[in-house]
């Protein structure tokens, strides 16, 4: 390839104006929100200064990343993986413990969250693996390798611990596997397994909150209680479901819908193992954790404890109504009722002070951003670029969806930031680097080998 054009000329050419505009708009709204959120702390300028500094540092890093050919990451994928593992190990060694978790490395004048960089490295590595093995992608072994790569990060992140970062990791992996062409049925089985192992303890906890179950003399209450106390009980349910799967398969067979028995067997295994895993999850979860997982459905049952954050966040969002209470005039924000308002609950600040107008605008801007990222994935010159862009888009989507669901009471409270808006230097810098990766892919879409 021979291209005499300067980098900036090429960059200007590569700029996706929609992507950049939505990004700047989000950061701008985020800046105002962070200012307002920290206004009542009396250190409003500090947070906004840090956030702005991180943004400009992010722009510089974004330009560097954009200039660097993303295909090198494919060639150096082992080095990238080792680098990300080292990052995650280093935080366990040098990290400072805040609230019982080691997530930060303190460099004196600033501190840094390695997981923010590690998640980008993970997308690069997993995309590289899927790209290189695309011909074997239908085989179960490819799945096994993929999850082995995931496990490396998974275990190290659990060691911090940072449970909330795990969910986007997992979802991004599933999306990439799907796009790369993995057998959909395997993905279904994996989702089923994971869903069951986490879902059953939550379902039991949820049912225990229901009045007709709380009464142990009712049939359902007795059933749930016996499931809980009796290990055998839960296996009966599993066996019944597996039997049902085979019956349905047999019926379909009879009606000339010929499906290989291997599918029914796999599905049965997924259910069986899912139930088995749920038992160990059930045992490992502490009572308060289980409670926190379902309390968002009935926050009023523990309005001063686990339900406090959700209640206050919903009040903040809702009380903003259509037009909002005005900048620096949100009572939930300024009087400190809203917890973690400059980080995880920044969206509630926007919802309260900017009203429905601004919160819907943020969602719209986010969607424009995602849409452009997906366009970049589509226009990439090779599969690797498409997968990386897709992975980055999925990451932004899941962070945003989890965060906004959490603050609006659709999901349990998990410490996931709203990228570009939440206060936090590390996530701002890593998000900008991710945008840099997108540009790196976009710039080289017409470059030929």
């Amino acid at each position: 390839m021979i291209n005499e054009k300067s980098f900036f000329h090429r960059f200007a050419n590569a700029i996706d104006i929609w992507l950049l505009a939505s990004l700047f708009a989000l950061v701008l709204i985020g800046g105002f929100a962070v200012y307002s959120a920290s206004f009542n702390y009396g250190i409003s300028s500090k947070y906004v200064t840090v956030q702005t500094a991180a943004f400009f540092l992010g722009i510089v890093l974004m330009l560097f990343t954009a200039g660097f050919n993303y295909q090198y990451y494919r060639q150096l994928d082992k080095a990238v993986y080792i680098f990300s593992i080292l990052l995650l190990v280093s935080v366990l060694i040098f990290g400072v413990t805040i609230n019982g978790a080691k997530r930060w490395i303190n460099f004196g004048f600033f501190s840094f969250q390695p997981v923010e960089i590690a998640k980008l490295a993970y997308i690069l590595v997993i995309s590289s693996f899927l790209d290189k093995n695309w011909k074997n992608i239908k085989k179960p072994s490819a799945l096994a390798y993929t999850f082995a790569i995931l496990m490396g990060h998974f275990i190290l992140i659990m060691a911090q611990p940072a449970f909330s970062s795990i969910l986007p990791y997992f979802l991004v992996t599933l999306v990439l596997l799907y796009v790369a062409g993995a057998e959909r049925f395997y993905l279904l089985c994996i989702s089923l397994f994971c869903g069951l192992s986490v879902g059953i303890p939550l379902l039991i906890e949820f049912l225990k909150l229901q009045p007709f179950v709380a009464n142990p003399s009712s049939y359902i209450g007795y059933f749930i209680n016996s499931l809980q106390s009796n290990v055998i009980g839960i296996f009966y349910v599993a066996v019944v479901i597996v039997a049902l799967i085979f019956v349905i398969w047999w019926l379909l067979w009879k009606f000339r819908v010929k499906i290989s028995i291997i599918y029914a067997v796999l599905l049965g295994f997924a259910v069986m193992f899912g139930f088995m895993a749920s038992m160990s999850v059930e045992k490992s979860l502490k009572d308060y954790q289980r409670k926190r997982m379902v309390v968002f459905l009935y926050p009023e049952t523990d309005s001063r404890g686990a339900g406090y954050n959700v209640i206050q966040s919903k009040i903040a969002m809702g009380s903003g109504k259509i037009s909002g209470k005005g900048f620096l005039k949100g009572t939930q924000t300024q009087l400190g009722f809203l917890p973690e308002q400059h980080t995880d609950f920044i969206f509630s600040v926007i919802g309260e002070e900017g009203g429905w107008f601004f919160s819907q605008l943020v969602i719209l801007l986010y969607f424009i951003f995602i849409w452009r990222a997906l366009i970049i994935a589509r226009e990439s010159r090779d599969r690797y670029g498409s997968l990386v862009a897709m992975g980055i888009a999925a990451m932004f989507v899941f962070y945003a969806v989890i965060n906004i669901s959490m603050v609006t009471g659709l999901m349990p409270v998990a410490g996931v930031p709203l990228l570009f808006l939440s206060y936090g230097g590390s996530s701002m810098v890593s998000s900008m680097i991710a945008v840099g990766l997108l540009f790196s892919i976009h710039m080289r879409r017409y470059t030929y080998y």
């Binding site: 001063r304 919903k314 009040i315 109504k321 009087l335 400190g336 599969r383 999925a394 906004i404």
Partner: protein, 601 residues
Amino acid sequence: MVWQKESKFIYEIFLEKHKIILVFFALLFILLSVRLFYLQILKGTHYRKVSDQQRMYNTHERAPRGIIYSDNGSMMVGNDFTYVALFYPFEQQETPSDETIEQLSKILKRDIKPTIDRGWRYGRVVKLADNLTMEEMFKIQEKKLILSGISVVKEPRRVYFYPEQNSHVTGYTGEINAEEVARLYEQGYKPGDYVGRGGIEQYYDRFLQGTDGGWQLEVNAKGNQTRAFKYIHPEIGASVHSTISQQLQNAAYDALKNSATGRGAVVVLDTKTGAVKALVSLPGFDTNKAGTREFAKYLKDKDLPLFNRALQALYPPGSIFKIVTFAAAVELLDINLKETEICTGSFELGDRWYACWLKSGHGRVNLIAAMAQSCNIYFYDLALKLGVRNIERFARKFYLGERTGIDLPNEKKGFIPNPEWKKMKTKMSWLQGDTLIFAIGQGALSVTPIQMADMITAVANRGVYLRPYIVDNIINIKGEEVFKHTVRTRDTIELSEETWDLLYESLVETVENGTGRRSKLSGIKVAGKTGTAQNPHGENHAWFVTFAPADNPEIAIAVIVEAGGGGGLNAVPVARKIYESYFGIEDIEEEAVEKPKRKNR
């Protein structure tokens, strides 16, 4: 555009999946938008209200209760101020920290235990200690920084003058309990309010309650005040003007206290209006101690000091019931005053003997003398002639077994026995012996002191029954009269003039020469009737009902000395002291007692 080095076919498969992913992401964002629409547009008004509710906090400044005055305008109950330590819950803290409690306990030298309120909500304060002195208040204010969430507020406190003397007239106040809140919520009572307990405080609570005020504040999540909106001045409750004469009240209290047992009740009524001039029940209690730990001892006291004997205690009337039998006899029987009977001290009926209180007998007595000497034998004879139905009818005529309707809480009705009741209760028939003891006011017949006072007032008024009352008028903060008692005649007992004349004569004779002579006053004619109520639990109760001046009655008194023995000996001097106080007569009791005139006729 296709992937270089890849076939177009493979890229198109990717494009398919790409499209599905795009749609999936779009659906997620639409879901979030729907949620936003629901929260902010559909439920916006609700959440706006909730957010205002939790930031607005109304400090509650309790209004002082109305003042209670005696008949001459002197204060019976007033107010002063005390300081109360409160905890304002903030953020996720419902109760003060152990450290705060420890510090506060150290400052106040008290053992403070905060009660955890399960039905907690924003803005609910927890009361930690009350009745703080000024010094303690300043000490807490000095250490406010380490005592997070603690504040001290001024609260009105009830002050009772003559607390022991007036205890059953005024009653006392206490914090409303859960059951009362449930019952009175619709009338505007809420948890934390103080309500009257007993006496005028309870009966006129509605008027005495002031309108609470306070600041409407904005508070932040830590419970700190950020802005103040407006201040509502608390308004004192209405002033209650009672009919109690503090002088008579004190005299009655002292006299009863110094009687044989110091237990019992006195009711003094104005015979012209039915106004209660004094109402004493002993033992009393110190109303100023209400709400303190010392008050608990009253609850355990076997003498039941919190029990208002004047309205709630049921005693047999004893011989004062002879007023009723007397009236019935004159009305229904053809009584000739010239006719006499011989009292030998005992009376034979069937195979049983019924004794007169004077074992030796009264000898020859006519109706007047029998009344004056309270001769049981004469009345046994009347009883047999009248029959139980007539006596019962006259007892009802005199409003026994019925509340007087005085404006004080928890008045009891008393009880009039009859054959049907006995049959039902004991499965035994009414015997003539029952009629005998009924006629002299013993047995199952029971009355309250206020009923006896009301009855003797009616006798003084020759049949006009007045409804006794203790509050004359109530004036609110604006000076408007919101309540005024109107003197109401309950009924007039229609008896012949002759009956009233004879009754009057016999009651005067009782004091002049009979059992009530210890109440004889120089210069003022007194009428009265003594009684001795049999007490199955011990010594007999001493009764005396009286009015004076006999010719133009002004006041009527009912006295009972619990377990005081004979009425003539123990209840009469109490009434005499009250008369002395009322008429301003020097103490000439000694002289009166030194001249016993025992006429055995």
